[in-house]
């Protein structure tokens, strides 16, 4: 219980930091947001009007106060300049498809990274290990969106196995449409995960209990099953650490596969210069990352009693 309280407490400064950061990020960057939103044809009068609409004409302290009160007291993260809808509602309407994509990508990442890391760790030093270590080096250098295009070429255009754009309707279709994009995200996520997981697994394989199991002449697959259970902890905590990276990658991949999720909302808001929506998406995603990190920490503590005691 003390552990839960301490973790929740440690999140408070980060949440406050995120809310402040979103506020200042747009304001400390050189340039006037209003002039930028209106573009080249802006007149001084139209800039002033937009300043008033966005509240940018108020003193910085008042702006900050209004922003903090809005976010923390009313859960109000702004209103779209283009559609005049609340940003929270806009984000919520796109969140489902992105969340589905992220979850599927996490699943694929685990299915890819854990066996590869186990293979490399149990065959440490062999050519198999070398291969598993070289391939991620190349993988890290590949822009995820380009890999997505290659997958479209191979599985969509040449083999016709999977749909390659948008999200289909009908039974099972939405899931089928998400397979290729999720796999693309997983391919980008796996290289760093395989590397760190391999190191962690090597430590587990060196542990006394594994030596004992081997000495007891347990078959290799049964030893590995014990190792895998111990590998669950580092896998979960590594996934938690990388969740921000994974969400960012997902947004870009949405564009490659023309999926109408939060990435699409972000990019369309950027081209229409809808600054409150861009700001709101950044805020919501950062808060999601904070919550997910907290949940993975809790899960890790649940899996590994040593961490609770510490």
């Amino acid at each position: 219980m003390r552990w839960v309280g301490r973790s929740l407490l440690s999140v408070v400064p980060v949440v406050v930091g995120v809310v402040l950061c979103v506020f200042f990020l747009i304001r400390i960057v050189p340039g006037d947001p209003a002039a930028m939103i209106l573009g080249d044809q802006a007149t001084q009068a139209s800039i002033d009007a937009l300043h008033e609409q966005l509240g940018l004409d108020l003193p910085l302290g008042t702006q900050l106060w209004n922003w903090l009160v809005g976010v923390f007291a009313r859960g109000d993260i702004g209103t779209s300049l283009i559609t005049s809808q609340p940003v929270a509602g806009l984000v919520w309407s796109r969140a489902g498809i992105t969340a589905g994509l992220v979850l599927l990508a996490v699943g694929f990442t685990v299915l890819l990274a854990v066996p590869l890391a186990l293979l490399a760790a149990t065959h440490a030093g062999s050519w198999l290990d070398q291969l598993v270590r070289v391939v991620p080096t190349i993988g890290m250098a590949m822009p995820a969106f380009w890999v997505g295009l290659l997958l479209i070429l191979v599985f969509g255009v040449n083999l016709h196995w999977l749909p390659v754009g948008g999200v289909g309707t009908g039974p099972g279709e939405p899931l089928r449409s998400l397979v290729l994009p999720a796999f693309t995200v997983a391919l980008g996520m796996s290289p760093p995960l395989v590397r760190s997981l391999r190191e962690q697994l090597l430590e587990v394989l060196d542990a006394d209990f594994v030596v004992t199991l081997r000495a007891a002449r347990l078959p290799r697959w049964r030893v590995n099953s014990h190792v895998l259970r111990n590998a669950a902890v580092p896998t979960v905590s590594l996934l938690g650490l990388n969740i921000a990276y994974l969400i960012g990658g997902t947004l870009v991949i949405e564009k490659v596969f023309a999926i109408n999720g939060m990435g699409a909302l972000l990019f369309s808001s950027i081209s229409s210069r809808d600054f409150p929506v861009v700001q709101g998406i950044a805020l919501v995603l950062a808060l999601v990352v904070v919550v997910v990190s907290l949940l993975t920490e809790a899960l890790v503590a649940l899996l590994d009693p040593r961490i609770r005691a510490a």
Binding site: V14, C21, A141, L149, L246, I247, G248, L287
Partner: protein, 283 residues
């Protein structure tokens, strides 16, 4: 006596060089990066990368155009080579400020500890919570697309990874007796940090720099793909891949071949970083 000693025991720099020359990873990385750098600096393009030839748009790879031509009939190989200069220059320049700032922040917060360290820790936690691409995209959005936006974005958020790594390394060094001994021996804080801690964490920072240049390069290309990075008609791998996506199903070469340039450069940087880590025995 000293003369004999220097002849039999080579100086540390010489020893380092010998080790480096025996490391195949480092050599491979260095060779790839030298070739890429030469392409970036001399830009030996077979055709003018801007010259349009609308009668020969979207031609497949041929002896005349090894990588084919794009929708405006421009030679793709020439544009890929010209883009090396653009993208590598941006990646390297954008990496400078984060390197210096991150190194300084990491050293100072790790050495000083206390409330300063606590604040740096919370700032780092805050930035880490943002999906990195979202953060960069928001800053580029606010600062304006193109090169300038990328530099501002990385100056603001790029130092985090160095600060984390260098802070941890500095803290572990500070726990070793010699740092306290140096300060106790009458050296100023500035001298302990600058002359004693810095040389010990620098290799780690340089290895990280290679990874960061790689990640920035991929980010620059990704921003180009999203239309937020290098603006046309300046050749950039990302915008080239994005242009080709329209014809992906029939004209595969327009998108796929520029991506190979990204992968080659990235592998070179990766190998260079891994090789340096081996030679400095950081793993």
């Amino acid at each position: 006596m000293t003369g004999t000693a220097t002849r039999t025991v080579p100086r540390p720099g010489v020893r380092w060089l010998r080790r480096a020359l025996r490391n195949p990873t480092l050599i491979a990385g260095a060779v790839i990066m030298l070739v890429v750098l030469a392409l970036a600096v001399f830009s030996p393009t077979p055709y003018d990368p801007f010259a349009q030839d609308l009668d020969h748009g979207l031609d497949p790879p041929s002896p005349a155009h090894w990588f084919g031509t794009d929708q405006l009939g421009r030679d793709i190989l020439s544009r890929v080579v010209a883009a090396t200069g653009t993208d590598l220059r941006i990646a390297v320049l954008a990496a400078v400020v984060p390197f210096v700032v991150g190194l300084a922040v990491g050293l100072v917060s790790g050495y000083a500890g206390g409330w300063l360290d606590w604040i740096v820790g919370r700032v780092v936690d805050t930035f880490v919570a943002f999906p990195f691409y979202v953060l960069v995209i928001v800053v580029v959005f606010a600062a304006g697309t193109g090169e300038r936006g990328i530099y501002v974005a990385y100056a603001l958020v790029g130092w985090i990874s160095y600060a984390r790594v260098i802070r941890a390394k500095t803290r572990s060094l500070c726990r070793q007796g010699w740092v306290e001994a140096a300060y106790g021996g009458g050296l100023s804080h500035t001298r302990v940090v600058g002359r004693h801690l810095l040389p010990n964490v620098l290799p780690q920072a340089v290895v990280l720099l290679m990874t960061e240049i790689l990640l920035i390069m991929v980010a620059v290309v990704t921003l180009g793909y999203l239309g937020l990075g290098v603006q046309p008609p300046t050749p950039d791998w990302g915008t080239m891949i994005s242009d080709g996506q329209l014809f992906l199903t029939t004209k595969w070469w327009v998108s796929t071949l520029p991506g190979l340039a990204v992968v080659t450069t990235g592998v070179g940087l990766s190998l260079l970083g891994d090789g340096l880590a081996d030679v400095w025995r950081l793993r």
